[in-house]
């Protein structure tokens, strides 16, 4: 009995700790600063959409949103494609060369992005890849390749060999086997990895902060951070930005929850 009470109390308290701030944010996005400060928890007396108009229209978050869609929309499939090719090659070959190749790529997971930012910045600048959405796509692919290869190689190695052998007997070359056998059976692991990459690429702050010069090319997290300018530390406006910036991920979460949990957990477990 005491156990059940403790359990309920702990869960209830933690649920409050998670839900209350989120509710304050959503309510706050419809309030003025004065109202937010006066009664942070209460629902807005007058549901004004002014903050949303301001955030999407004037602040440039609309453009940032579009940029984020482009960058994430390209980064995720390209990373998946390149990583799944590599994983397939590694998973189907044997011997020390294969092991070395795998170890070499996966070693990249151990290097935190912040430790590499200065030389990467210099390099991208020299190649004219800074201040470009393409450069962001490229860096996204490069930095998440190791972990994507790690997750997918792990998955491909669990597949029964007979699957590939049957394809080989049918006369399929490696390429045909890749797209007609490997890709279809990999859908669950690809989806989970895709979600994992989606969250990382959509939320990435460091590289856009470093690489992007023009306000026109900012992605969502940088645009959001720049809200904190000297005079825009306006909480209702910040909260509106948070809601808009999170919307795609939240919607995806509601519908694809199982992949989120699988993907993000796989990222953690394997990372």
């Amino acid at each position: 009995m005491r156990y059940q009470l403790t359990r309920r109390a702990v869960l209830a308290v933690y649920a409050v700790l998670v839900i209350v701030p989120l509710v304050v944010v959503i309510f706050g996005s419809f309030k003025t600063s004065q109202e937010l400060f006066a009664s942070p928890f209460a629902p807005p007396t007058d549901w004004q959409s002014g903050n949303y108009q301001k955030v999407i229209g004037e602040s440039g978050l609309g453009i940032a949103f579009r940029n984020s869609v482009i960058v994430t929309g390209l980064s995720v499939p390209l990373t998946l494609f390149i990583a799944s090719l590599a994983s397939y090659g590694i998973a189907r070959t044997t011997g020390w060369k294969s092991a070395l190749l795998f170890g070499f790529i996966v070693l990249g997971m151990a290097v935190p992005a912040q430790a590499n930012m200065i030389p990467q910045y210099v390099q991208f600048e020299t190649f004219g890849l800074t201040n470009s959405l393409f450069g962001l796509v490229l860096i996204n692919i490069v930095t998440t390749l190791p972990i994507a290869v790690f997750i997918m190689t792990g998955f491909l190695k669990t597949l029964p060999k007979e699957l590939f052998e049957a394809a080989a007997v049918d006369g399929s070359g490696p390429w045909r086997t890749y797209h007609s056998v490997v890709l279809p059976v990999s859908v669950p692991s690809l989806s989970a990895t895709a979600i994992f990459l989606f969250v990382i690429h959509w939320n990435d702050l460091l590289y856009p902060l470093l690489f992007i010069n023009e306000a026109e090319k900012r992605t969502i997290p940088v645009a959001l951070l720049s809200f904190q300018g000297e005079f825009l530390t306006d909480y209702p406006l910040l909260f509106t930005g948070v809601v808009v910036a999170s919307a795609p991920i939240v919607i995806a979460y509601v519908f694809l929850q199982r992949y989120f949990v699988a993907g993000i957990t796989a990222g953690a477990v394997k990372g």
């Binding site: 020299t126 390429w175 306000a215």
Partner: protein
């Protein structure tokens, strides 16, 4: 790739490895040429370029104007509209970053020349670094430079005295105050000595006001107060530069005395001031609940937008006896306009700078943003500017915090003041800061 191709695979593999090698070769040319120690490095860059005088023909092409004043965007849009009217083949886009980000990233972002064909710099560390990096194309040959107050644009000169940039804003980095609140509290005149200032704070506090709203949680703005706290405490006007040069220390008596005065002010700041940023304080001040806002005149515009109707004055704490006070307040000449030496489009950018230098356009900027400018013959119609115009003639010191050219050192010095307010003893705070200064000094 079908089966037959497998025979080709080795060649393809070699191609693949070739691409890896190519990547390596490409990357080898990245970064600086490294010279051996003691060979005398070639820093200082190439001889600065000096732009020929601006031409009379209308500008063509696009100008990217990089700056940090998001709150001035609308006013600049108005100015851009009239610029484009006069120069129909030109466009100007604003590229705005928040001031903190601008301070830390603008140099790297602008040096490529794709953005910021016209740009600005903070006085101090940023201007020095940007100039060292060769970002400023010299403006010495431009006739419109004579339209500025010569004394006020010295901050835009290189060590060689060449005019590289033009400080545009003339701001007062000293506390602003609510005149109605002072009057209601029975404060007749602004105090002229330290005891008077403390008495003023006490009076305001007894009336239920927050005497001084100070954003101690926000490094960029909490440091503004050090200007007025130091102006009469400093043994020489260049004392902060001396600290960075190592000839003076923050453990010196005068600096410790100043830290003790911060300690005395602690009860008069808002509660938990070391964690507070400016935005809530602007709210507090605009709603009449604070006597002073210890940032600067550049916040008057924002406070007005929040609905403040009362007259706003400028006030600097005089930290010494009345007869020992050298200065009444602080000014700063900043927002140092320049034309980017890199990239193309200098002509249009120069035209834009010339346009901003015109007294009529400068007046539009000044009156629209409640900030004075360094341009001569400007007609100030904005009530706040008129109200505080007397400050243009007062004994003011060029804001000393921008004497620091190393941001780590400036941060350490200013953090010492915040630490004292947070309860650290002045000696301890000063020693900690001095340790950092000794390490970061070149």
């Amino acid at each position: 790739m079908s089966d037959q191709n497998s025979t080709l695979s080795r060649r393809r593999l070699l191609h693949g490895l070739g691409a890896v090698g190519l990547g390596g070769a490409l990357s080898a040319c990245v970064g600086p040429t490294i010279t051996s120690r003691g060979s005398g490095s070639a820093t200082g860059g190439a001889a600065a370029q000096v732009l020929p005088p601006v031409s009379d023909t209308p500008a063509t092409g696009s100008v990217s104007f990089a700056h940090w004043r998001a709150e001035d965007k609308a006013v600049f849009d108005t100015l851009i509209a009239s610029f484009v009217k006069a120069n129909p083949k030109a466009t100007v886009t604003q590229d705005i970053s928040p001031s903190n980000d601008y301070q830390s990233t603008a140099l790297q972002k602008i040096k490529g020349g794709t953005i910021g064909t016209a740009f600005v710099a903070f006085r101090g560390a940023q201007f020095v670094n940007m100039n060292k990096a060769g970002l400023y194309a010299g403006l010495g040959a431009q006739p419109f430079v004579d339209g500025y107050f010569a004394e006020l644009i010295k901050a835009g000169q290189a060590t060689s005295r060449a005019q590289m940039g033009l400080p545009y804003q003339l701001v007062f980095n000293m506390p602003i105050f609510n005149e109605d609140a002072f009057e209601a509290a029975g404060v007749g005149s602004v105090p002229t000595d330290w005891d008077g200032f403390l008495a003023l704070c006490e009076t305001l506090k007894s009336k239920g006001l927050t005497p001084i709203a100070w954003p101690g949680g926000e490094p960029a703005n909490s440091g503004q107060l050090i200007n007025s706290m130091a102006m009469n405490n400093m043994p020489t006007d260049t004392a902060f530069a001396d600290i960075e040069a190592g000839t003076r220390k923050v453990t010196d008596d005068w600096f410790l005395a100043m830290l003790k005065q911060y300690q005395q002010l602690t009860p008069y700041f808002e509660a938990n001031s070391t964690g507070t940023s400016s935005e809530p304080l602007q709210q507090l001040f605009a709603s009449g609940k604070a006597g002073m806002l210890a940032t600067g005149s550049f916040h008057i515009g924002a406070v007005r937008k929040l609905g403040a109707k009362f007259p706003i004055g400028l006030i600097a704490p005089i930290t010494v006896a009345a007869d020992k006070a050298k200065y009444e307040g602080i000014y700063n000449a900043t927002f140092i306009l320049g034309v980017n030496a890199a990239g193309t489009g200098q002509d249009a950018a120069l035209k834009w700078v010339e346009f901003l230098s015109d007294p009529v356009n400068a007046a539009v900027y000044a009156n629209g943003t409640s900030q004075h400018v360094t341009v001569k013959n400007v007609d100030y119609t904005n009530p706040d500017l008129k109200h505080n115009a007397s400050w243009l003639a007062k004994k003011t010191l060029l804001a000393p915090r921008f004497q620091f050219t190393n941001l780590d050192i400036r941060a350490a010095v200013e953090a010492a003041c915040v630490a004292v307010v947070g309860g650290t003893s002045p000696d301890q705070a000063a020693e900690k800061a001095q340790a950092v200064i000794d390490q970061k000094r070149k």
